[in-house]
Symmetry: D3
Subunit: 301 residues, 6 copies
């Protein structure tokens, strides 16, 4: 029996899979003329932002102080165009999928305005990222210089994507911020929701497995280790049994908190200023400022 004999099996599958009953809820019909959310385009947006924020490390590596403005100029212009497209894609997606309509007109003009606003925040974004680089450097005896941190520490990739995404999140753009933080999640294993609020001098060592929930509030000079969860304990359902959106349900970490590896902190509790949470523990109640919590001793057997 030659492979052509399978044509009827294949065409039967095509027919079933093209039946509109079969793809309800799993189908995205695109409106002609609207840009599409594009992973590839968002990847480029993040690359452009990174090459603007850390000049000479990413992208235009032959840059010098006399020609830097040419490079930043070209990158900002490309960023503006791509971001305008992706913001418009996000706004359209929001309107169609969630009935969210933050802006009267989710058109190109609104998107361009929001993209320009985002770009106007890049200088302060660079300032706060500089503090994150410092925190990573001073927190790791194995680090040899700032350059090594910027080039290869996963936290820098994760926190940069988060700070970009958070800025877009504050502009009420649907979908796009989450795709950007999920890119960093895939690359680093660090999952920071774009809605979380994070102060300056923030760092995470190693990072794989860290989860920071949507309503977390994190102060300044906070340090986490790999595997730390800042999650929700449970969430109230509405009358239809759907989770109620927007209720604060993740922890608050005040300034100078340290959380060691694989600790799990759940619910809208507060870890007080300067507290230390030991590794591999499960914390569901607030912790006093300055306190130190550790796991009970293990036993031999």
């Amino acid at each position: 029996m030659s492979p052509l004999d399978y044509t009827h099996i294949l065409t039967k599958a095509v027919d079933e899979l093209s039946d509109s009953q079969s793809y309800q809820g799993l189908f995205h019909q695109h409106k002609e003329g609207e840009p599409l959310p594009s992973g590839k385009s968002l990847q480029r947006i993040v690359e452009l932002a990174r090459s603007i924020l850390f000049p000479g490390y990413f992208g235009n590596s032959t840059i010098n102080s006399q020609t830097i403005n040419y490079h930043i100029g070209v990158n900002i212009e490309e960023l503006f165009e791509l971001l305008t497209d992706q913001i418009q894609a996000g706004l359209c997606f929001g309107v169609e999928n969630s009935g969210i309509q933050e802006y009267e007109s989710p058109c190109r003009a609104t998107s361009a305005k929001l993209a320009a606003e985002f770009i106007s925040h890049l200088p302060e974004m660079r300032q706060i990222l500089a503090t994150d680089v410092e925190a990573a450097y001073y927190g790791d005896p194995a680090a040899t210089c700032f350059g090594e941190i910027i080039c290869c520490y996963p936290i820098i990739r994760a926190i940069t994507n988060y700070r970009i995404a958070h800025e877009l999140y504050k502009l009420n753009i649907p979908l796009i911020p989450r795709i950007i933080t999920e890119m960093a999640h895939s690359e680093t294993g660090i999952d920071i929701h774009p809605g979380a609020q994070i102060g300056h001098h923030f760092t995470i060592d190693h990072g794989t497995g860290v989860v920071i929930g949507a309503t977390c509030i994190i102060g300044n000079n906070v340090k986490l280790y790999q595997g730390v969860t800042l999650g929700a304990k449970s969430f109230p359902l509405d009358d239809d049994g759907n989770p109620i959106k927007g209720i604060p349900r993740h922890p608050i970490l005040e300034d100078d908190v340290i959380v060691y590896s694989n600790a799990t902190i759940l619910g809208r509790i507060t870890i007080g200023k300067g507290a230390t949470i030991g590794g591999n523990i499960w914390v569901t109640e607030s912790v006093e400022p300055g306190a130190r919590i550790v796991q009970r001793k293990s036993k031999d057997f």
Copy 2:
């Protein structure tokens, strides 16, 4: 001393590394005319399956309900060709490497038959994936719509790869299913063995660090959090000291079980219907239906 002076060092290394003694067990001699397992090709296979299962989200994004059958038709045809090749590659690999010969003739005809069989299961695969999307949506207050789940939640990527791989695993195709689940493992940090059995409405929140072993049986409506291990406790060795293959050694999770982050459940134990396993704990004995298990309280110091 110019770089050319190192030629003798390089050619010496070439000679040592080309010596057949030196690569025993690490060398794969390919038979002429047989297709090769190809990561790139499998990546394309998964992309095609994704664009068929979730039309408009991946791949042909300009699709509409009147032209959807063209797109699905072309994608199914490409899928059939690539999959026939990769199935043949897997069957040949199995025969050569493990002496496994499930089918009398690991030739193109058998492979095409298996590829067609796989494709005939795509409609039901879409149905069950629709329940997984629902489970992810109703389980996360931060989710704004089904579309966001499909576009950026890592569980959708991981469970799609798993459901594809499991279907191929049931057809007794060596190697290929594992490569497909490892792709998702690399992208999401979620490691589901293609041999595991998983019911409908399955979800994992965040996901990094989850491990689901080869002989796991998971019911319907089960939810896991990041860092959960469903592993083996130990495994018996045969007389030569090699692990005995195929013995059930991973947990059974009945319907409606929830397992919180970083919990470790080991061995062929049963977590009863509706049980809840708290985070960061280590479970090696069966748990009653409806039970809730948590970590002992931590202490201050």
Copy 3:
């Protein structure tokens, strides 16, 4: 208002971001004529090394025993050129960023010499990797053959990158080794510092979330599971409050140790020969040879 109206916002951002005050510490000025550290080039270096070490599995898949030396010859030559470049890039980076100057002349000649030295160690690197493949195979009942291990087990990717990086680390090349291990970290979730010392027959099952610190010493036949941390407990600061570099601060694991999933072992302690560390626990004191440590029992509630 047309998008052109945002030109003044964009050019203002360009000016601010091109101001040399704003990028202090975040700017890398490249010296003309020196090669740059390149992720793409290092990716190719690792691919070349992999295709040399495991012939027929990666890269030139149509290789046979009579033509293998052509392929290894060409790959070694390309490896030599790319590595010479990247070593030079690393040496220059070290001099500029950390004032480290291991070699009198961080020029092309020194780099070529170091690249040739690295290549001369490839045969022994293949020998020890063969033991790692064995360890992975005998440690997993789900593995069907060596070929499956080499093709798709994340530990092989991680340990190969580590062994390459460690060899470069021993040659005192800055930056490059860390970039290579971080590539594997991103792909596998396994974070092994290139400075760690690891014996033969080493394996990690599943692997996501494993951290192995810079001063770890790991014996032979050691097996780790996913989520294991071999970390530092704390580190002394110098008079300026900076962490003191180079102090041994990570654990020593003697031969035949097994550490189960999500265990955290911290500080310069010794886990004695043949000891077993149970999952999800926190170990900060040395453990006797042959001992078995487990988590305290969880409780119901």
Copy 4:
């Protein structure tokens, strides 16, 4: 003197070249939101058209008669989208550059209408191309089958691009038709203006150097050889000394004419039905039907 010392030379050149005086007439300012004429996109458009017109030869080569409609469906849809964009780009270009405004609104809606109209002519375009393939086959004893003609004869590439471009030319779309025929000119050395009118069963042997001017009218069953020019003899200027556009100035070739290699036929003359023009000659006066014209004998010396 290090390369950095040239920075002032480079920045001086940048300043001069950015001065608006210096680029007058050579600068194309793009209006935001309008698509751009794109060589890459037009290349794809031609490829798509070719794979639709000659199914199985270009593009989707695994096509069979049961699945052909999937492939044509997908290709038509992609063609429609890309062509809508490029038609819009052409209309905008026309308005800005030449003040040509064929349509009231050079917007997306008009462009989509014109793209759909173009597509509705593809079936008849295929019919006439079938006659061109025949003419090439019966005119060359070296041809072994229709397939060889379609795969590798330059005339097929040139005449296909011409027939596509001519259809767009008839829709009064500026710029785009000419770019399409110039692509074929670059690939084959055959330069056919999109405005020329050419009957069925047309062929050119070898083809390099052939020129067919904008106002040529060519009947059916005409055959040209390489190097033939069908050009203008001279053209009247208007009062400003500019050439007057749109005056018929190229030859008319009636049915069944043959023109041998390197012949040059100039001006609005008529080559009568069935006439034969010998090679390397220069014809500026009309030729009777059935006549045969040749070069005067060469002489020895």
Copy 5:
């Protein structure tokens, strides 16, 4: 009217274009499992041959005399595989399209045998190409060295493709040789039929527009200029009006002939040893050895 309104126009075109009546003679149905003639693959084949024949100029440019055999070994192996595929594609195409069946079994084994035979002729092909390089060098006062000839003279590209194609032509492989010479035709404007016979020390200056027909016989030390045609005067038809294949109908050029630019030589005539044909003339009768033919004087007017 939105673009979606054109869906019925598009689907109507799809239906018409998918109707089997409409694509008769223009459709290539591919047999499953047979390789396809591939322009991309043939391009690679020519590149590989070029990098083998002119080592260090094309492809592996860092080659040195001690490592050249690695590079040639790898290139020969890749060439063998790709060529085996393309030869098989050509044989299958021949059987299906022209009923030509040169070999009993147009299968992989035959194709591999022919590919190996081709490769065994590469050394002598290099020898004769060396004479062509010499001829080009000594024939052009503007040439500065052999390297310049090899790198950028179009004749070298054209003659290399021809000599490769002619070798395949002598092995009776359909289609493939013609595609290879048409590649050079497109790149250089030089159209040499793979069936022509050409001696050593052959060169063409500039080259654009040269045509050398299928049954030409060209001696040694022959030089042509741009625009020269060696064509057929006319060709007899069989009883069905089809051109009779395989009759000698192109010129014979004996040794040491020179033909100046744009000369046209037609029919099975002989240009005697050492004759010189002036430019822009039309020759249809044999020319004595040593003769010089030029155009009649032009006149003023």
Copy 6:
């Protein structure tokens, strides 16, 4: 007989082709550390130059007058780096292959100096190209605007490459200029030697087959048609029978000359100011200013 049986044929070919006797004169040994002439890099150089010279038409198409300096700045910097490399490659090639050593030190510093000098001439190169665009526009009634000329007329591609190459030729850089004009030759069929001297307002209509030799001198406002040769009649040999280099041997065309299609003008003759040369003729003697030369009348037969 399996394909592996051909291994001995292949390895025999490898041995013969690796024998240093066999590649004499055809082998280019590269010196480690020196850049290589690279077609790909030169293609990019030409693209960069084009996007600088005709802003908005090629490359950065979204450019506007306020951001143009960013784009030109970035392009000039990239051009400087690539050109420095390729100039160095050309100088090294010249020294090795032809013993030409124009500069004392063919090192990076010299190359950077020459690259900067080239760049300083770009503004005047733009001025003269503006006159060529004008000449093409006013010479073709079919042209609709300057933009159409710049986008798709082959003369613009050819004359731009020539003017770039001629500038490098005047700096005595070997090889590179010729590669650049040969690129245009391949794309347009117009072969202009980089050594030719060409005035302003130069144009060629259609262009395929035009040849302009190395020592041509062409005045202002000259227009050529397709197929025109400005070549050498013969060239004196030295005592070894090699052509003597550098002797003026191509025509001089004074201002305002027009040469019609396929005319051949040979030798160091002068075509006087304002003369017109008819098509398809062969001119080997000087022509008076203002004269008009045409072919003798053809005859019927």
